[in-house]
């Protein structure tokens, strides 16, 4: 993930920085922080014109625009092959009872999903679920595989912050509650494990 801090800059500078990054950091996800809404709108306008997938959200009074290229670039199956299902993972431990067993089950579940022909359109991770995309290397690798197959992996930014894991995100894109609400309510089916 390439990070651009364009706070203190006015247009066209933030847009030019993103344009440059898109060219130089080939295929990489890019996260740009700007301090005003007009710059955010100009960034979104360019990304829409370029047909790139992005998420944008407000964070501590600044605005973050994140281009998600590793999932949308080469190798993704056409969207029609993925049913409009959202998979919600609120914990790094699957089911109730033993926490340790739950962690093994979560790992096995994600592995099974990578082997499955039926994939969700999106996976949403929150609370301790975010550990699966960061601390836990094995599950993060499976989530990465799912991303490569075209699944959007949305990771709750507040949760990463809470656990101090923002810097160790290995799969998915940092997202917020607005995006999560939108994803869940526009889904035909929401599965929670």
């Amino acid at each position: 993930m390439k990070i651009i801090d364009a706070r203190g800059e006015t247009c066209p500078v933030p847009v030019i920085l993103m344009k440059k990054a898109l060219k130089e950091a080939e295929g990489e996800n890019i996260r740009e922080i700007v301090d005003n809404e007009i710059s955010r709108e100009n960034l979104e306008k360019m990304l829409e014109e370029l047909g790139l997938e992005y998420t944008s959200f407000e964070e501590n009074g600044d605005f973050v625009v994140q281009v998600n290229r590793s999932a949308s670039d080469a190798g993704s199956p056409p969207r029609d092959f993925i049913s409009n299902t959202v998979l919600v993972i609120p914990s790094d431990s699957m089911g109730r009872g033993s926490e340790d067993l739950g962690r093994i089950l979560a790992k096995n579940y994600l592995y099974a999903l990578t082997e499955s022909d039926d994939l969700p359109a999106k996976i949403i991770l929150y609370n301790t679920g975010v550990r699966l995309a960061s601390e836990n290397g094995e599950t993060a690798a499976d989530l990465k595989k799912l991303e490569e197959k075209g699944v959007d992996v949305l990771v709750c930014g507040t949760c990463l912050d809470f656990f101090g894991l923002t810097g160790s995100l290995k799969a998915g894109i940092i997202s917020n509650m607005y995006a999560i609400v939108e994803a869940e309510f526009s889904a035909e089916r929401v599965i929670s494990i």
């Binding site: 006015t10 247009c11 066209p12 500078v13 847009v15 030019i16 344009k19 005003n36 007009i38 710059s39 709108e41 100009n42 306008k45 360019m46 014109e49």
Partner: protein
Amino acid sequence: MNRIDLKGGMGCACKIDSVKLRSVLEGIPRMPDKNLLIGYDRSDDAAVYKISDDIAIVQTLDFFTPMNEDPYIFGQIAAANAMSDVYAMGGEVLTALNIVCFPEKEKTEILSEILRGGAYKVKEAGACLAGGHSINDTSIKYGLSVNGIIHPGRIFSNAGAKAGDSLILTKPLGVGIINTAGRVGEASREAMTKALLNMTTLNKYAMDILKKYEVHACTDVTGFGLAGHGIEMACASGVTLEMKAADMHIIPEAEAYAAGFLVSSAGQKNRNNYACSIDFNVLSFALAELLFDAQTSGGLLAALPEDAAAKALEELNTLEIRSAIIGMVVPEGDKAIIFKGD
């Protein structure tokens, strides 16, 4: 040369958001006066006050932050832009006063050059520079307070465009985008030269020609872009302006820069405010940017009957800057401006 350090909003691009401004002005009491022919209750260019049956005074002022690092050029542009409002109404400029904000730490040579540029344009307009006022400020700002006269029966307001009229634009669009590109060193010398000619040319010459014809409505296209000033004309006249993508009157380099995403804040603000009143689906990304581009010292947008417009255009095109017919006026529809494909 003493150069101006450019930062922040530039030229007409530093206008306050028009929607915000309107809500602020709603709280200011109206002062009706039978002789105030045009006041700020209409989105028109200047105030017009009748003092006799033959003479009304036209008052306007305009000042902004530098958009060019050459102070002499900046002075010329600011003056041409300030006087433009009088020309847009069909008036003559008589006197002008300097408005100056200048930081103490800056070299006074810069200020001398700015004022010299402004004076040069006032002289070219055939008017007198009669004084001014200056204060210390954190950033440079310059402009003029302008007084002119007009015949009360021959005021070109932005209301009065009629279905069937042709729309003439007397300067190509794109100086905002070229200035934006210039700020990050991406504008060619040719593009900058074209933009400077556009910004320093007085609208007096185009108006001197337009005056000979039956003009139904006229305004100058400045900070709110063709979009904003076009909508103002359409709403004041109760009509819709119909334009064609292929007839957009633009500086070609600006289209290329817009396609390369050299976009400004001012243009995006205009898009936020005006996009809902315009059907511009047929426009490419770059042409849409030009529609919303803030013009510093832009040209006149005039509505004339078709025949008159054709003749006026021929005469206007003897001037250094080319004019163009960019569309026509149609009966009021859902949108203030609509763009048609080719």
